[in-house]
């Protein structure tokens, strides 16, 4: 049995949860097995996970599961895995999934791979998956030799695929320990797709000259339905908030489309973005290293090019 932990944020499932269930379902098909989903705490509309391939959805509800504590969550997921006889546990590679993966591996004495990019290769009875290493500069194939395997699925790697129908949710009764951490406050920006989940990212660097010019970047992002990002010096200078910083020491992202504006393309920047499917670079210097990593390039002054691109996008969206 393949057990997927589907994480909900304020009761709502997000794309990463649908991706994880889709991955779990495809893995189950490969192994001739069933994909069972576990949800924790208060969740809305868990039956919809059946559409992505869950043959069954279990929920554990307990006030101690309403905010996240890795120790409590790992204990409950591990109990469910043992009770249901899981062979593979799938998590999403989110801040929650990442905090659970290692705990589960230690608790259940199992091999784990973080940030998986491919379905398992089970040729010859082995179990191999790939993941990005060296901050996205390379890919490694990992072989897992333990009976139980625990994986966290990298975001944007597989498309959530609908096929099945709604399934019923069943309550599972397990022991829920009390948390030793207490969540005092959650500050989320509303109405913005978080960077790791964004399909389109519009990012800008020191070529912007100063924070007061970011309006043109935000406008482009708005018409493209994109999330904004920035290079490290821009975040270091407090031109932009730190959570926008992408690269080797910031976030590693893999959107479908990454638009880089006034960013030179230093190796540490590329490390965080070069797994994007398509890269567009706008830079006035034709020698900027970023062009070597780009699919489409525009050599020109960003203060002229960006508003033109925004206008062209508006025209396109208007159809």
């Amino acid at each position: 049995m393949i057990l997927v932990f589907a994480e909900a944020v304020n009761g709502q499932f997000k794309k990463t949860a649908f991706e994880a269930v889709t991955y779990g379902n495809k893995t189950a098909q490969l192994l001739g097995n069933q994909c069972v989903v576990l949800t924790l705490g208060k969740v809305n509309n868990a039956g919809q996970l059946g559409e992505y391939g869950a043959s069954k959805v279990y929920n554990v509800s307990d006030a101690n599961l309403d905010s996240f504590d890795s120790q409590v969550y790992a204990s409950v997921i591990a109990q469910a895995a043992e009770k249901l006889g899981a062979k593979v546990i799938v998590l999403a590679h989110t801040s929650t999934g990442k905090s659970l993966l290692g705990r589960l591996a230690a608790r259940l004495n199992a091999g784990s791979v973080a940030g998986v990019k491919s379905l398992p290769d089970i040729a010859g009875g082995s179990f191999k998956v790939t993941k990005g290493v060296y901050s996205g500069k390379a890919t490694a194939e990992y072989e897992i030799s333990s009976d139980l395997k625990i994986l966290s699925l990298s975001g944007n790697e597989i498309r959530p695929a609908k096929g099945g129908g709604e399934v019923a949710m069943e309550e599972l009764h397990l022991t829920v320990p009390s948390p030793k951490t207490r969540v005092l406050q959650v500050k989320r920006q509303e109405g913005i797709v978080p960077l790791p989940e964004a399909d389109v990212v519009v990012s800008a660097g020191r070529g912007m000259k100063g924070p007061e010019h970011w309006g043109i970047v935000e406008e482009l992002a708005k018409v493209m339905g994109a999330t904004t990002a920035c290079s490290r010096p821009v975040a270091d200078a407090d031109w932009r908030p730190h959570h926008e910083h992408v690269g080797q020491t910031g976030l590693a992202i893999r959107p479908n489309l990454y638009v880089a504006i006034g960013i030179s393309g230093a190796i540490q920047h590329l490390a965080g973005v070069n797994q994007s499917k398509v890269i567009v670079v706008i830079n006035k210097d034709p020698e900027a290293p970023f062009f070597k990593a780009a699919d489409y390039g525009v050599v020109g002054d960003l203060f002229e090019v960006v508003p033109k691109l925004t206008a062209a996008m508006k025209k396109f969206k208007a159809g």
């Binding site: 890795s70 120790q71 801040s95 905090s99 290692g102 705990r103 591996a105 091999g111 791979v113 973080a114 290493v133 060296y134 901050s135 500069k137 390379a138 890919t139 490694a140 194939e141 990992y142 072989e143 897992i144 030799s145 333990s146 395997k149 030793k180 951490t181 969540v183 005092l184 959650v186 500050k187 989320r188 920006q189 978080p194 960077l195 989940e197 389109v200 493209m224 730190h242 959570h243 080797q248 020491t249 489309l257 190796i267 540490q268 490390a271 070069n274 567009v280 990593a293 699919d295 489409y296 390039g297 525009v298 050599v299 020109g300 002229e304 033109k308 691109l309 996008m313 025209k315 396109f316």
Partner: protein
């Protein structure tokens, strides 16, 4: 306060990565190794700041061979009190975590620090594993850490925002950017490091369940397609019709 900081050795951030021709091993010819930036800049420095304020010790722990000694000495030069190297090849995260947990068990560290992730294997796994082996709470991706008495308040990075959490008693934390500012070791630190306690101990037996068996480099981009700066309609058309991303 008695603090432990887990430090690993990684290739320098500017390194051009390559592998042996059969793809089985990292090619370290011409590579400069550094201390993993999250371990050095944030975890270690914040640990030092806390002991400078309230007294205590900062111990470094590393799982690795003698090729890690230089990295560990740098940590001592930055200000750690002593170091332990567990002499084993660090092949899998669970193995590494087991070694660290066995060292920490019975030492009663108040806080065990590690980095948010290693910039080579990017697993973000070791910290959570150490926490589980020791049955301790784990606060991951902390960009702020304040301690008052036996309670710590942390700011954690979550998707699209931050979460503020409070934890009592000993715990494991993984450090993200923002927790502290990088410190450069000075001459005196480097001199003092030479006489600080540095133990090398054997590992406990533990299997490697998940190991890399083959590495590949990404396909080179076939070449950038340049679009004239005054024809953004063309760029939009290409993104829609050719790349199919909008």
């Amino acid at each position: 306060m008695k603090l432990l900081v887990c430090v690993s050795k990684t290739p320098d951030t500017t390194s051009k990565i390559s592998f042996t021709p059969d793809g089985s091993k990292f090619n370290d010819v011409g590579i400069t190794f550094i201390m993993n930036p999250y371990d050095e800049w944030y975890a270690l420095v914040r640990a030092l700041e806390l002991t400078e304020k309230s007294g205590g010790t900062v111990t470094l722990v590393n799982v690795g061979g003698p090729d890690n000694d230089q990295t560990i000495r740098k940590g001592l030069a930055i200000g750690a009190s002593d170091a332990v190297r567990i002499d084993a090849e660090p092949k899998s995260a669970l193995f590494i975590a087991k070694q660290i947990a066995e060292h920490a068990r019975g030492q009663y560290y108040d806080i065990i620090f590690c980095g948010k992730e290693s910039i080579d294997f990017n697993g973000s796994e070791v910290g959570a594993m150490v926490a589980e082996f020791l049955d301790l709470p784990f606060a991951s991706y902390a960009s702020k850490l304040d301690v008052s008495g036996s309670t710590a308040t942390l700011e954690r990075e979550i998707e699209g925002g931050v979460e503020i959490v409070e934890v009592a008693g000993p715990f494991v934390v993984s450090a993200a950017k923002g927790m502290a500012e990088q410190r450069i070791p000075n001459m005196m630190g480097i001199m003092k490091a030479k006489s600080k306690p540095f133990a090398v101990v054997p590992p406990v037996a533990f299997p490697d369940y998940a190991v890399p068996v083959k590495y590949t480099l990404p396909k080179e981009k076939t070449g950038v397609k340049l679009v004239p700066a005054d024809d953004m309609d063309e760029l939009v058309r290409l993104l829609h019709e050719e790349a199919k991303v909008i």
